[in-house]
Symmetry: C2
Subunit: 348 residues, 2 copies
């Protein structure tokens, strides 16, 4: 598009700081593409909730929908009761905008130190389902605060929801050199949901005969992520298992300071949302210490999504070059310095 209408939800804590640098790099990457970005800031998060009691109104949502994409920094603050902003804002965006593909690459860039002694060549992507599972918010509790309290959480899984994300994952696997898909679940215990996932993967495999499929229980998957992460190509899994595995994936590939993500609506019935995997990190907020790299890599995913793959590759290349030289750096750079350096590399 000649104009890329971008909804910006900087959010809480370090969200503002990293988004600023993400936008700087985005503008630089758009240079010469014929596309310019037009941003709308949305005041959402802890401040808004404290002053108005609102998390995300119907009006906010309607306004966000008019954009091509969303760039999100981070949501969450210790001054807000747990769950209020997560359920009322972040997850509400993912669910309302039907972000059923939550895409999270696990890539160890050359020069980046992993906590693993021998990580090998790690380059996989997790396709985390984004609109079902234990995240649906269908739980409840009775007799709260009494010795007879019962608190239930319900994981809802539908053929509709599982099939569409599984098909997306197969398509991604088919487009990659290794063409490997690993389903992660726990079908020996969660038999109903697990068997739905398993049957669906088997059925959709017929449409992608050149993709090799295997299966791991979620507990075993965590083992392989630390003993042999290079074995993974595309992982498809449910919302909660995906949440857990992608933080672990981030840890083994250099930390959540580098982990990008995309909440994608593949049918394009609503804007997709790009956000670093890390949270608002209140402990370091406002100090210019946050690494904006995860946000910048999320910007690359955004560029891919809006049909500008060359610009996306330029941003990724800038990050790769920057990471390769970090080990030799004399000192730790500020958030703004990293952003400036990355923008300069994109320009250069």
């Amino acid at each position: 598009p000649p104009i890329l209408d971008l909804a910006v939800v900087a959010g809480d804590g370090i969200g503002t700081e990293v988004v600023e640098q993400g936008l700087l790099v985005l503008e630089q990457a758009l240079h010469g593409t014929g596309t310019t970005v037009r941003t709308t800031d949305f005041d959402l998060g802890a401040r808004r909730w404290h002053t108005t009691g609102q998390t995300l109104t119907d009006e906010d949502l309607a306004a966000i929908r008019t954009h091509h994409a969303i760039l999100l920094g981070a949501i969450g603050d210790p001054t807000v009761p747990s769950g209020v902003l997560e359920r009322g804002l972040l997850l509400k965006l993912r669910f309302a905008l039907d972000h059923y593909v939550n895409l999270r690459p696990g890539k160890l860039f050359p020069g980046v130190r992993s906590p693993l002694a021998n990580p090998g060549d790690v380059d996989f992507v997790v396709v985390r389902e984004g609109t079902e599972g234990p995240y649906v918010g269908n739980g409840g509790a009775i007799r709260v605060g009494t010795p007879a309290e019962v608190a239930n959480e319900v994981s809802v899984n539908t053929a509709f929801g599982v099939e569409r994300v599984v098909r997306d994952a197969f398509a991604r696997a088919a487009a990659r050199p290794r063409k490997k898909l690993t389903l992660v679940h726990k079908h020996n215990v969660l038999v109903h949901a697990g068997h739905l996932w398993r049957r669906t993967v088997e059925a959709v495999n017929a449409e992608f005969p050149d993709v090799t499929v295997d299966y791991l229980h979620v507990d075993a998957a965590t083992i392989f992520l630390v003993t042999d992460p290079a074995r993974f190509d595309v992982i498809v899994t449910d919302n909660l298992f995906g949440d857990i595995l992608t933080d672990l994936a981030a840890a083994i590939t250099g930390g959540i300071g580098l982990a990008a993500s995309a909440n994608i609506n593949p049918d394009r019935t609503a804007p997709s949302m790009f956000e670093p995997v890390h949270g608002s990190a209140p402990d370091i907020a406002g100090q210019g210490k946050a690494d904006p790299t995860a946000t910048v890599l999320s910007v690359a995913m955004l560029l891919d999504h809006v049909g500008l793959p060359d610009a996306a590759r330029a941003v990724e290349g800038a990050v790769a070059a920057d990471l390769a030289e970090r080990g030799a750096a004399e000192r730790v750079r500020s958030t703004a310095e990293v952003g400036k350096d990355l923008a300069a590399r994109v320009a250069g």
Copy 2:
């Protein structure tokens, strides 16, 4: 007790092989304690199911109940549909015998290689709830096999169930030098169950004022398990999160070949059950390749539980000495050789 009545469920795959060595070491450890072991073998698992269609009958359960403890090898076989033996036998034992404390140490023994470059001094224990959460089997599905299928899984959490396991975890933390307890959950998403866990930990903390408490979301906990596992002392968590974290814990401390566990009924209304964390490993079954060390360490937990701490320490000491020398070993030993060596060390 002068006679220790032990129910033996060797089970499937490598279960038989490792249990044989576990019993050898157990007998050696009992020498001179005034206690002798009397074992009853229970034919449970894949073979029994194939020949009779039974997993665990009321009669089996009644017979098992008459014992002081259970030693279990492994349950599960690829020839049996997923979930049948897990739900019908292994989990049925844990639930029926009210094993609400599933205790899983994460200890990196000197000489053991971790996949982590700098693991540090890792010595924690996970107290995994064993009778609630998503393991209750209260899920269900409708319109199975059609495009309109819905498959639900229900996590049930009660004040009764959470409080008793949290209290047990606090008592364990209070008895350890560091006196630290970490609650792991996901209360920003699973708000009902998560808040029950959180409130319960806060309330029980009043009874154990010298225990320091912190909290991690399950996704963040996986990060710390690979970046700083030495920070953990006692972790208390729900059944499913505990399943995931303890496989990861096993991986970073040398693999599931070394990971012991105890399914404890602290009220002693039924026998507790001791089992290696690893499964039946059909790929190496019958080849004498399985490492019986996890079973032997589970035997040490059994000895502690039946009031023979000196014998337990002797078994642990034998394992520690054996592991310390493994690196220098000329060749890989068979299952029976490891068992024989460990028994000899206990004797010596």
